[in-house]
């Protein structure tokens, strides 16, 4: 229980079913604050399902998710974002019709205080808030070396730039926990290294992260803590070195 109190995220006996398919079975785990955790497992192990349960896109049939000791039961996904959960997606999710800066500013949605009517009438508060947001947005873009592209439509971006933009949008609101769904997927070796450095930087600034990733070299080289899912169950968890040597994990990956 003491462990639960100091944990940023706790899952308690989480079960998730889709009809007859058991996607997650009795998952209980603690994620301490400030760590870069990896969530690994073979295809169909339930990794993305688990991210979706944490951020509220799926409601588990049993069990509970706690963020900083607070139960998220019944808290809709959009309110979880307000509480400090942010995420990226397996296939990058950007609004195609909008430019780079506007896409980034979506990440600041929960920071706005001026209401709809203020914005409708273009009140001075609305203009001030927009100006501040744009400044903050450009700063963020600069941090991820995207500032020169701010006015471009996102369709013109490379996959690497899209991934960067999605990441910068996710961290825009200073989340307490960042969920990353295959941030390295589809990237070249050099880009993977750059992404790892960026994520290391974020951790250095105290950002807690859970990353779903297939690139085992990256996971083993960079993360602090590894969670292994297999057929919807938590097979093992621990530091990368222990996980690498775990016979259960090896057999799950290499197949019986």
């Amino acid at each position: 229980m003491a462990e639960a109190a100091s944990s940023l995220l706790v899952l308690r006996d989480v079960c998730l079913r889709f009809g007859g398919l058991q996607a997650l079975m009795d998952i209980s785990l603690h994620v301490p604050a400030g760590l870069w955790s990896a969530l690994i497992g073979p295809n169909g192990a339930g990794k993305t399902s688990m991210l979706n349960v944490i951020c509220g896109l799926y409601a588990p049939q049993a069990g509970d998710v706690l963020l900083e000791g607070r139960s998220l039961y019944g808290v809709p996904a959009y309110e979880r974002a307000v509480l400090g959960l942010a995420r990226t997606f397996q296939t990058v999710q950007l609004v195609q019709e909008m430019n780079v800066l506007d896409n980034l500013l979506l990440g600041l949605h929960t920071q706005g205080r001026v209401g709809v009517f203020g914005h409708l009438l273009r009140s001075s508060a609305s203009r001030r808030e927009e100006r501040k947001m744009q400044e903050k947005g450009l700063e963020l873009l600069a941090r991820f070396s995207l500032e020169t592209l701010w006015s471009r439509p996102v369709l013109e971006l490379s996959l690497w730039q899209r991934k960067l933009l999605e990441l910068s949008r996710a961290v825009a609101g200073d989340p307490k926990l960042l969920l990353l769904d295959e941030p390295m997927g589809g990237l070249t070796m050099a880009e993977r290294e750059s992404m790892a450095l960026l994520l290391q930087d974020l951790r250095g600034q105290g950002m807690s992260m859970i990353m779903v990733e297939h690139d085992m070299d990256m996971v083993m080289a960079h993360t602090d803590h590894v969670l292994v899912l297999h057929h919807g169950r938590l097979l093992a968890q621990g530091p990368p070195r222990e996980i690498q040597a775990d016979p259960q994990v090896i057999s799950a990956y290499l197949g019986e």
């Binding site: 809709p76 307000v82 942010a86 609004v95 800066l101 273009r122 927009e130 609101g173």
Partner: protein, 324 residues
Amino acid sequence: MSAGRTAAARPWRRLLPYAILATAAALTPFAVTDTYLLSLGSLIGLFALAVTGLNLLIGMAGQVSLGQAAFFGLGAYASGILTVHHGLPVGLAIAAALTLTGLVALVLAAPTLKLEGHNLVMATLGLNMIFTIVCIQWESMTGGSSGLFGIPAMSLAGVNLSSDRNFFYLVWGVLLAVLWLCSNLLRTRPGRALRSLHQGDLLPVSLGIPVVQYKIALFVAAALLAALAGCLYAHYLQFISPHSFDMFVSLQLVTMTAVGGLGNLWGGVFGAAFLLLLPEWLHAVPDVMPLLHGLILMIVLMFCPRGLLPALKNMARKIWRGHG
């Protein structure tokens, strides 16, 4: 160059289209002396008002409603009945009609917005047919299929707002104000949230955007704009009949939206003008208009799904470059 500067330092560029349209609208009644053409101009403004709402609903939330004429009609009939049968002053009747439409839209929004795609189209179409049937059957109130007569004109401080010229100014003034408000909204935080809605719920929800509330608000806003157009329409013509608000009018509104380009505010004005002026050029008989609208909608969706206006703009740009 920073975005703050480029986005905010040229406000005149944003105001330019309003200035052009306002000037054109101000001069039109002097240039157009034919009252029929002037009232056609007012009608374009009214339809553009309803199309603006529909444009937000389809363009932002991706929700196609084929029942928008029912809200148009609800505004018209509510305001008409309240003035004719209950003797309410016109201003109060319009306010009451808008409140009523807002409430009806709010009640309908939750169940309707659970539907998507074809189901939503069919449900809203059904809504429109129910509305038409009620208008025809509830004779004591609506005057049935022969319509509601004797709706009072609008006036303000002794000025008759329902005269052809004044009404033209009223409609285009309201339209320009609404376009300005909408464009303010779309370029700020709630607008960005609205523009992310058609991606599906996954993205907006994970960004902290309450998708359901936003969609309900859009549905109600679209209904209110249609109803406002309806109120003005009723007090201008001083006569309304169910035929003016049937599902073919809904089809016409959707076609106007598609022609102008989804989510493109100025496009809606173009779409309304294009579709209302077309029969004048073609000297078409009214009976073939629904057919023509269906055909135009099909052609636009097949060959320029982003709208006829954006397609024409692209073409003009290409020709310009070819010569330059």
